[in-house]
């Protein structure tokens, strides 16, 4: 079992990175939302699913392909996010985060239930765009072009988001509003709008991940539920609300999970939770979190 050739190991690390790219995109959105709104956004998985379905819908009903969907689906889901924030989350802001968790959890169940009812459980086929088909033949594996593209998009979006938040004026407002909202609004900055847009951006990231996932996983109502628990573990390990933490942990845990699939495949979907338990015991605030 342990005599895995180095070359095969290389392939597995690469695959781990690809999965990590999804984890990073999703946990980034969660971290941003938690950081500013103090809401544990449990419907993140459902909105990821919604993003994939919007892409499928555009293709199937309107003939709009993958490339426009990359922009349109996050926009559409972002608008849904504005609705959720304005209509629901705003009403419970200031309450214990538990209320937000329950509200968004309920929302996730409703969304998944509706989509199961409308589209069944097997899911919908979504073809890969022509330009990204095929793969590179490496000495140890065939590396599908599409997966390279996923890593690329994820890295660019994650690092871009991080740079905007850490390095720009807009980001500084955002960080300031996180620290002390009344003071920031006293400077004439429209904090409620920032909050709404942040939420919309966060769920837009989830939708983007959904579109990226559509050609490789099945577009099904359950696709978010399968993933969201892992992503929450990633966020907890990285430190709730830590942007950089969520990105780095996302990629790192993807690789770790990939390696588990080689050495002890039966444990591959528990390894992340074992790590989460250990991290919580040793550093309750997460690897990159600031302890309260």
């Amino acid at each position: 079992m342990l005599a895995v050739p180095i070359q095969a190991l290389f392939g597995q690390v690469l695959i781990g990175l690809i999965n990590g790219a999804f984890y990073a995109l999703l946990s980034l959105g969660l971290a941003i939302i938690f950081g500013l709104l103090n809401v544990i956004n449990f419907c993140h998985g459902a909105l990821y699913m919604l993003g994939a379905f919007v892409a499928w819908f555009l293709m199937d009903k309107a003939g709009i392909g993958y490339w426009p969907a990359l922009i349109l689906a996050p926009l559409a889901v972002g608008i849904v996010g504005v609705g959720i924030e304005r209509g629901l989350l705003r009403r419970i802001s200031g309450l214990d985060p538990l209320y937000g968790l329950l509200l968004t959890f309920g929302l996730a169940l409703i969304l998944q239930g509706l989509f199961s009812n409308w589209f069944g459980s097997s899911g919908m086929p979504y073809d890969m765009p022509e330009q990204l088909r095929g793969g590179q033949i490496l000495p140890f594996m065939v590396l599908p072009n599409y997966r390279v593209w996923v890593i690329g998009v994820s890295l660019v979006v994650c690092l871009g988001t991080w740079a905007v938040i850490e390095r720009t004026r807009l980001g500084s407002w955002l960080r300031a509003a996180t620290e002390n909202a009344p003071l920031v609004s006293a400077f004439g900055i429209n904090v409620p709008r920032i909050v709404t847009l942040t939420y919309a951006f966060g769920v837009g990231l989830a939708a983007l991940a959904g579109v990226l996932a559509a050609p490789i996983y099945r577009v099904s109502p359950q696709m978010g539920a399968d993933l969201i628990i892992v992503v929450f573990a990633v966020v907890v390990i990285g430190g709730m609300g830590s942007i950089l933490g969520s990105i780095v942990t996302g990629f790192a845990l993807g690789v770790l999970e990939g390696l588990t699939k080689v050495f002890y495949p039966e444990a591959s979907n528990t390894v992340i939770f074992v790590i989460m338990a250990i991290v919580l015991l040793i550093r309750p605030a997460g690897l990159f979190g600031k302890s309260a």
Binding site: G113, S122, V142
Partner: protein
Amino acid sequence: MNARIALVLALALPLAARADFTGKVIKIGVLNDQSGPYADLAGQGSVIAAKMAVEDSGGKIDGTPVEVISADHQNKPDVGSSIARQWYDVEGVDVIVDVPTSSVALAVSQITREKNKVFLGSSPGTSDLTGKSCSPNTVHWTYDTYAQAHTTGSAVVQTGGDTWFFLTADYAFGQALERDTAAVVVESGGKVLGSVKHPLNTTDFSSFLLQAQSSKAKVIGLANAGGDTINTIKSAAEFGIVKGGQKMAGLLIFISDIHALGLQTAQGLLLSEGFYWDRDEQTRAFSKKYAQKSGGKMPTSAQAGVYSAVLHYLKAVKALKSDADGKAVVDQMKKTPTDDPVFGKGTIRADGRKLHPMYLYEVKKPSESKGPWDYYKLVKEVPADKAYRPLDKGDCPLVAAKK
């Protein structure tokens, strides 16, 4: 003495002559997954199929109306059991049909036996239903894990796929499927090079596929089901497994899975089924009628099996003029050969196994398909006696009792 017999006969005769339907209605309960992973292969489609069978039997048996009700067992044995009890005890249900998910089906079979009703299993897989857990009140209709393993396993080895690697879902069903198929592969002269067990509901299968690829096996056997199978096949297409010369063999795949995958991804896949809508004139006629009621979807073999099972059940009830004694109804069903547009002519064995041929299909290339749902081409027909487990090999107590 003679006078006493005459008295009993005199009392019994009028009863026998009059139809005796409990609750003045023949109630059929379709119990299956309506919202989870098996909702597409069974679900509402099975309810439509049951209603079609009632319609085609005239809607009434000797003036007694036939009613179809349904419920969602959520693939949980406890939920399924309590619905079954409620149906038998309170609602006056006479027969439960369909019941995907082997664990739920085994529980329902047990309860049905206790209450002396009838259970017609169309979508459950486990061959234990006619093996060590067989029951005089249960008929297993459409397929079972043994037949899947044998049809796919032996036919693929015979067509040259003699080295195998298994991708197995890590729970009872997957392991049983791998074990059975591996046995057939070895028996038919093939070799098993290895296997990897993955957790249920895995999203990404690429690592496992890479391991399958590096085994250099000619055939990758998929001992999993539903969403797991779909995701495996999608990744395999992407990582160039089939283009690299390896064949994929699905051990439990329904046409609803192929529909979800699309032909571009699923092409070349080998699978076995007892029913395909486009097999002959009769299956086409049945399926087109079904499609009109189901929003254009063609029936899966599980749904078609529900139709066939209910049709035969109603024939038996009509012949007996009673639905009261479940065991007697099943005995009557076993006595009469089956004949329907779905499976053609067939029989039901002493252990409760419904027999019909199984078919090995290959999924068409997109260029070969003439339109939606035109998905399979026939590779090989396997007669019932070759596909299903021999009667004496299942350890069914009913069979031992007969000897």
